[in-house]
């Protein structure tokens, strides 16, 4: 069984990868996907901690995260659709209505 440190390292790496994508990509959909990657990293973290402390709360949190991710993806994607309908683009640097 790998030790807790290894699981935590994995979780942090996944989180950072997702964060990098979130900060860097221009495509709005890929930004949303990066958020999902971040959430998955957190899922790994909580599950590992729960396993090692024998506390059920971690798994419950994982359950809730999954449900919440679904809700958030739904809303986020409908907003992307709206932006596409209005502005004909999904690239963040072409959406400049809030500039200035």
């Amino acid at each position: 069984m790998p030790s807790l440190e290894q699981y935590i390292i994995l979780a942090i790496i996944l989180f950072l990868i997702g964060l990098f994508g979130f900060l860097t990509r221009r495509n709005l959909i890929v930004i949303l996907i990066s958020i999902e990657i971040m959430l998955n990293g957190i899922i790994v973290l909580f599950a590992a901690i729960s396993y090692f402390t024998k506390d059920i709360s971690g798994y419950i949190i994982v359950f809730f995260i999954i449900a919440m991710a679904a809700a958030e993806a739904a809303i986020g994607l409908s907003l992307v659709v709206l932006i596409y309908k209005r502005l004909r683009t999904v690239y963040s640097d072409e959406i400049t209505t809030f500039k200035g």
């Binding site: 990657i37 024998k54 059920i56 709360s57 798994y59 449900a67 739904a74």
Partner: protein
């Protein structure tokens, strides 16, 4: 052979690489599919951690619903391969620096988290193998954490309403 470790490393490496490729790819569909790979491997990781219920839940909800939703939207707005454009925004270097700072910070503080000791005052003595993961989760979900459960239900409800509400026809100004 320490199968646990081998499986763990395999799953971990595939997860990491698929997510890296996912955020570096040009085609949005490739991104979604690579994330799908990552999700499946993560589900198996959860399985090794003894949470079979959560594995299945993740596969059904995450892989089966959310990513499908993403694909729908990708097709809806007809995204093509980004050939003429940059993948990343300009001035990526500034962001990368900030990012590295956070990364370094997190990893540096990693070891303060390591001193977690198993707390035996917790709910579940995991070594008791008679009850399954489903049993334990259901036991605590509907008793101790009932409020949070209901709240999650409300969140999902709001999300449904929100999605429907946002897509209604609005007058476009200008």
């Amino acid at each position: 052979m320490n199968w646990d470790l081998i499986i763990f490393y395999y799953l971990a490496i595939v997860m990491i690489f698929s997510s890296v490729f996912a955020i570096f790819s040009r085609h949005p569909v490739y991104t979604v599919l690579l994330v799908l790979v990552m999700i499946i491997h993560q589900a198996f990781l959860l399985l090794t951690l003894g949470a079979e219920f959560l594995t299945v839940v993740q596969l059904i909800v995450y892989a089966g619903a959310i990513l499908v939703l993403f694909l729908f939207v990708v097709y809806l707005i007809n995204l093509r391969k980004e050939t003429k454009r940059n993948v990343f925004i300009r001035k990526i270097s500034l962001i990368a620096i900030t990012f590295l700072v956070l990364g370094a910070f997190l990893i540096a503080n990693l070891f303060s988290l390591i001193s977690l000791k198993p707390s035996f005052k917790a709910y579940l003595p995991f070594s008791v193998e008679e009850k399954s993961n489903v049993w334990w989760i259901a036991n605590y979900l509907f008793k101790s954490y009932l409020l949070q459960f209901e709240i999650i239900g409300v969140i999902l409800l709001v999300a449904i309403f929100g999605a429907v509400f946002l897509i209604r026809k609005v007058k476009i100004f200008g």
